[in-house]
């Protein structure tokens, strides 16, 4: 049956020719090619296809130029966001994550809290400076992805928010 090398060749053809679809069938000889920018809207379609889901977390930057989230913890967050239409609050900098303003204070937010764009959700300490991070989203905190004291990198997902 099909070997990987043949597949690679087909993929190369797709890449170099900017095809968006290629359908190839056996003995009845059938080829389908699609090319050009398709619908730009991203659909998060729940699907049973394990290949698609497993492939995405390590994905290369999309061709439209937006940055992909970082590798650490990204897969899970992506998947959850993808599965359920959640939004991410990501870290705008490298530093140390704090859920509260001091060890004995209550956390800025907990799961189930409502947030609006101006709501402070955590502190990231970088170079001895404590930076208040705002939600920049409106909705309900669904999940907290990091713990107090944990190092976070640029673009790392911190919270999942269910938008209104």
């Amino acid at each position: 049956m099909l070997d990987v090398k043949k597949l690679k060749e087909l993929i190369k053809l797709m890449v170099t020719n900017d095809l968006t679809e290629l359908d190839l069938q056996g003995d009845g000889e059938r080829v389908t090619l699609k090319r050009g920018p398709g619908d730009q809207k991203v659909h998060y379609v729940p699907t049973a296809a394990p290949v698609l889901q497993a492939g995405e977390p390590n994905g290369t930057p999309p061709t439209n130029g937006t940055a992909t989230p970082p590798a650490v913890g990204q897969g899970q967050a992506d998947q959850e966001a993808g599965d359920t239409g959640l939004e991410q609050i990501t870290s705008p900098m490298v530093g140390t994550f704090y859920a509260a303003s001091s060890p004995d204070a209550a956390p800025f937010v907990t799961v189930g809290d409502r947030v609006d764009p101006e709501k402070v959700v955590c502190i990231i300490e970088a170079m001895k400076v404590f930076n208040e991070i705002k939600a920049e989203a409106t909705g309900t905190i669904e999940k907290i992805l990091v713990q107090t004291g944990q190092a976070v990198e640029f673009d790392q997902p911190l919270f999942l928010v269910r938008p209104d």
Partner: protein, 448 residues
């Protein structure tokens, strides 16, 4: 010795430093922008931290983000590579104030040698040959015209804080000098935040010859002989080699010793390069000092057997140089070509994007330094160098034969590269005789 270092750079030089550190048993922390997530330096480091979006100002040039990453990863030192923050004295100062060693020279050495006017004055004081020109910075145009007439046209207006050809103007008469000064000042002010310019005799038909320096924190300074980087295009080096094919041994010793004198005068430690122009009579004129590792350091490593990056790390950790001048010997001839993802037949336009094919040459005498691999996507955000091919053979003719052979073995696509240009240069009669000057490549392109 350090137990963990951060590499504040990307591309092949980040890979180069990671390799050196790994062989020394030092843990490595890479930083990367979102455009470099799939780069080899991220894969090879013990730990990698994303510090920002593709724009250099928000990632590789962003001091707070790099220092934050260094603190989060708890490193002992930072290697700046070349480019980006490598010659930024302020960055070195911030590192050290955070108790993180900067793998490079002292802030004072960087400051004095980085200012071309101060550097030149120091050189004159220590009998390092310089081009005739203004004693210091140009105060007014009338002065400049007087000096220019004195040393004779053509002259060059240069920015004190300059580098890479920016803030430079050649003038052939009073009129072009006056306008050149204005333009150079404006350009220097814009590019470096410092509009100071000075005047120098413009040398025609010169070669670019530079001396590799290594100094420790105990006052020892040695040279690792010279490199010839005459093969340039628009101030970008294309081919570097060691030794300089035309240089006599007496002149070699003179210039190497002069470079050591200048480094000692600046109390220099770490690796550094003293760049000279050399005229047809093998007279030298100081150009500038690069207070960092150079792209072309491997040619010197191959002819001396000394690992410059490892030595740099040892020096930063306070160790003494493990060799003295008399132990440093030259063997054979080394040549480096810089392979860029650019189309040489189409105005050197960059050719970023995924390389579905990336096969490297191998075999005897061949070294490849690269951050690429089959399937790597060349980001459009940074310079276009994708690999350095460096060869070492007993003689220059054999080195040319080897590099010619190895260039032919590269299999890169669909991206365009400068490999066909290099193959053409390796077959060029003038290059083979080394009958070239720093404008040779540009003339070659002008003729075509």
């Amino acid at each position: 010795m350090f137990s963990r270092i951060l590499i504040a750079n990307r591309g092949e030089i980040a890979v180069r430093v990671i390799r050196a550190a790994r062989e020394m048993g030092i843990e490595t922390v890479a930083v990367f922008s979102t455009a470099d997530r799939d780069s080899l330096h991220v894969r090879l480091a013990d730990r990698a931290i994303c510090i920002g979006p593709p724009a250099p100002a928000d990632s590789y040039l962003n001091i707070p983000r790099i220092i934050s990453a260094a603190e989060v990863a708890n490193v002992d030192a930072i290697h700046p590579g070349y480019g980006f923050l490598a010659e930024n004295a302020h960055f070195a100062e911030v590192c050290r104030s955070c108790n993180i060693e900067f793998i490079g020279p002292s802030v004072e050495s960087m400051s004095i040698l980085g200012d071309k006017v101060q550097c030149k004055q120091l050189a004159i004081k220590h009998k390092v040959p310089v081009a005739p020109g203004s004693k210091g910075k140009i105060e007014d145009e009338a002065d400049a015209v007087k000096i220019a007439r004195d040393i004779g046209y053509p002259v060059m207006v240069k920015a004190a804080a300059g580098g890479g050809g920016r803030g430079m103007r050649v003038a052939h008469n009073d009129i072009s000098l006056r306008s050149g000064i204005k333009q150079a000042m404006a350009e220097a002010q814009g590019a470096f935040g410092d509009g100071t310019v000075y005047l120098e005799k413009f040398l025609e038909n010169a070669r670019h010859v530079e001396v590799q320096i290594l100094g420790d924190q105990h006052g020892n300074v040695v040279h690792l002989f010279e490199r010839d980087c005459t093969m340039q295009r628009r101030h970008q080096k294309l081919i570097e080699e060691a030794p300089c094919p035309v240089l006599g041994n007496d002149k070699r010793e003179d210039v190497c010793k002069a470079a050591v004198r200048l480094a000692k005068a600046a109390k220099y430690f770490s690796a550094g390069t003293v760049e000279f122009l050399m005229d047809a009579k093998q007279k030298f004129y100081l150009m500038e000092v690069n207070t960092r590792l150079q792209v072309e350091h491997p040619v010197t490593e191959l002819i001396t057997g000394i690992d410059i990056v490892k030595t740099q790390i040892r020096i930063a950790a306070g160790e003494k140089l493990p060799f003295s001048q008399k132990h440093i010997k030259r063997h054979g001839h080394a040549i480096e070509t810089r392979i860029n993802a650019e189309d040489p037949d189409n105005g050197f336009t960059p050719s970023p994007g995924q390389m579905t094919e990336f096969e490297m040459p191998g075999g005897p005498g061949v070294r490849v330094d690269t951050h690429c691999y089959s399937g790597y996507r060349v980001p459009p955000n940074y310079d276009s160098m994708i690999a350095k091919l460096i060869v070492h053979q007993p003689t220059r003719d054999e080195a040319i034969a080897t590099i010619r052979r190895a260039l032919g073995e590269f299999d890169i696509g669909p991206n365009k590269t400068t490999i066909p240009l290099h193959i053409r240069l390796m077959l060029n009669g003038s290059f083979r005789k080394s009958d070239v000057d720093i404008h040779f490549v540009e003339r070659l392109f002008g003729q075509r």
